[in-house]
């Protein structure tokens, strides 16, 4: 996304377009990424319930992946997983 200059943007950082947080990809805040073991995962969806950033992707009641564009790497999913199916891996080490 091309960044605007001071003559183009609204003052005070005002946001007048609703639902724009999708434009701000917070994935680059992450230092550790959650890696899911599909063998161990039972699709209990505890991670989906607790992810503060809606970054656990679910289709038809099954976990299909993690959205690394927005996942900040908080590790809640790895902590809560009852089957140890999610491991936090240092970025750049996988």
């Amino acid at each position: 996304m091309k960044q605007k200059g001071w003559k183009e943007c609204l003052w005070g950082g005002l946001i007048v377009d609703a639902g724009n947080s999708v434009l701000y990809k917070t994935g680059d805040w992450r230092s550790q990424k959650p890696v899911r073991d599909t063998e161990k995962c039972t699709d209990c969806l505890q991670c989906w319930i607790l992810c503060p950033d809606a970054s656990v992707k679910v289709e038809n009641g099954k976990v299909v992946g993690i959205d690394y564009d927005y996942c900040k790497g908080c590790g809640i999913c790895a902590k809560i997983c009852p089957f140890d199916a999610i491991e936090m891996v240092q970025e750049g080490e996988e």
Partner: protein
């Protein structure tokens, strides 16, 4: 109409005539009486204002910001430690581009505790992106309120305005002044036009989001531009007010500067004493002129340069000190404005904590500055007037 009012009563009367949507205040000497009077107007039903009695000045300014972004015309008043306690939220008000008007009755800062006039409070807030005007007398205090409303709300500006007046010297003195009729005031200030109000639920807006290294700098640059554009607005509003009231206002006021060899620069009520001193020194054939700075933010660099150009020496009076700096804040900026000119600029710090400033002391400063002009030698750039 001609009235005899104290500075506090004149401010309260001006606020009544503006009839703002919201006033949020916390009492502090020497501003308390103005707000007591205004509370009377509210209680008597003379205004439609929602008066919020906050639990501190920090809260008062926060209420003002909330009311302003909600879409209301907002006014408040404070002084001294009250302004200092607002420090954090002064930036929030300006950065959210809230056209709030705040009357500041200038008073020294603690410690030791002191309730009398100096400009330490206003000067501490000089970098907050608030427009600052200073008044010489109660007429100006009254007139500045209406102009401040217009300047703050102008679409090219949308910045808060601080109308400064000397605590006690003006707030508690009674002077004759000419007041406008209520409909004249209402016509002059016009209807408040909110921009991006929070209460417009059909057009939702977020104020104060997280603004990091990617956009914060751009938003600060916009404030610089708003200050730049405020220069013209101050002049135009001052001219328009002149047509209405017969009292025209500009960024600064000059007295006998055209043929002057030396100049003296002052803010606030000291201008009155300085004018008398200049007149007396002229009779002694000292070619001195007075520059009264009305606008301190944005700083009227070009006008100052033009008015002082050709002089040999200039004395800048500061009613606050900037401890550890080279002189007071007004001195630093005036001297920097004159960079490249062949003018010696000297500083006189005076009147801290309400210490009286007398005509003979200003005459002494003029005499010393005349000596600098004559010899082109400066004994001391920063001088303290009236300290034992």
């Amino acid at each position: 109409m001609i009235q005899a009012l104290s500075g506090n009563a004149a401010v309260a009367y001006a606020l009544k005539q503006v009839n703002p949507d919201v006033v949020a205040v916390y009492p502090i000497t020497p501003q308390t009486v103005a707000m007591e009077r205004f509370a009377d107007y509210v209680a008597d039903g003379d205004v439609d204002t929602e008066l919020i009695m906050a639990d501190s000045e920090h809260s008062a300014m926060s209420c003002c910001i909330g009311a302003s972004v909600a879409g209301g015309r907002v006014i408040t008043s404070t002084a001294s430690a009250g302004l200092a306690l607002m420090w954090e939220v002064l930036y929030v008000a300006a950065s959210n581009r809230c056209p709030i008007v705040m009357n500041v009755m200038n008073r020294a800062l603690s410690a030791p505790i002191n309730i009398h006039c100096d400009h330490s409070d206003a000067m501490g807030a000089r970098d907050t992106s608030w427009i600052q005007v200073h008044a010489e007398n109660i007429q100006e205090c009254y007139d500045n309120i209406f102009q401040a409303v217009r300047i703050a709300e102008h679409e090219n500006v949308r910045l808060p305005v601080m109308t400064n007046m000397d605590g006690f010297t003006l707030s508690h003195a009674t002077e004759r002044l000419e007041t406008l009729e209520d409909p004249q005031v209402q016509k002059f200030i016009g209807e408040f036009k909110p921009l991006y109000p929070l209460l417009d639920v059909d057009n939702p807006v977020t104020y104060g989001p997280l603004d990091l290294y990617d956009y914060y700098f751009e938003h600060k640059r916009q404030q610089v531009e708003a200050m730049e554009l405020a220069h013209d607005v101050v002049v135009k509003v001052g001219e328009e007010y002149g047509k209405l009231s017969g009292r025209k206002y500009g960024k600064l006021e000059l007295f006998k500067t055209e043929d002057a060899d030396i100049g003296i620069v002052v803010l606030g009520s000291t201008a009155g004493t300085a004018r008398v001193a200049v007149r007396a020194m002229r009779e002694k054939s000292v070619n001195v002129g007075l520059m009264k700075l009305r606008l301190f933010r944005p700083f009227p660099l070009e006008e100052i340069k033009n008015a002082l150009k050709g002089m040999k020496a200039v004395a800048v009076m500061d009613r606050s000190d900037s401890f550890g700096a080279f002189g007071g804040p007004v001195f630093s900026e005036v001297r920097s404005a004159l960079l490249g000119e062949d003018i010696e600029v000297v500083n006189y710090i005076y009147g801290l904590g309400g210490r009286d400033i007398r005509q003979d002391q200003i005459e002494q400063a003029i005499t010393e500055t005349a000596q600098v002009a004559k010899t082109q030698k400066v004994k001391s750039y920063v001088n303290y007037l009236g300290v034992r």
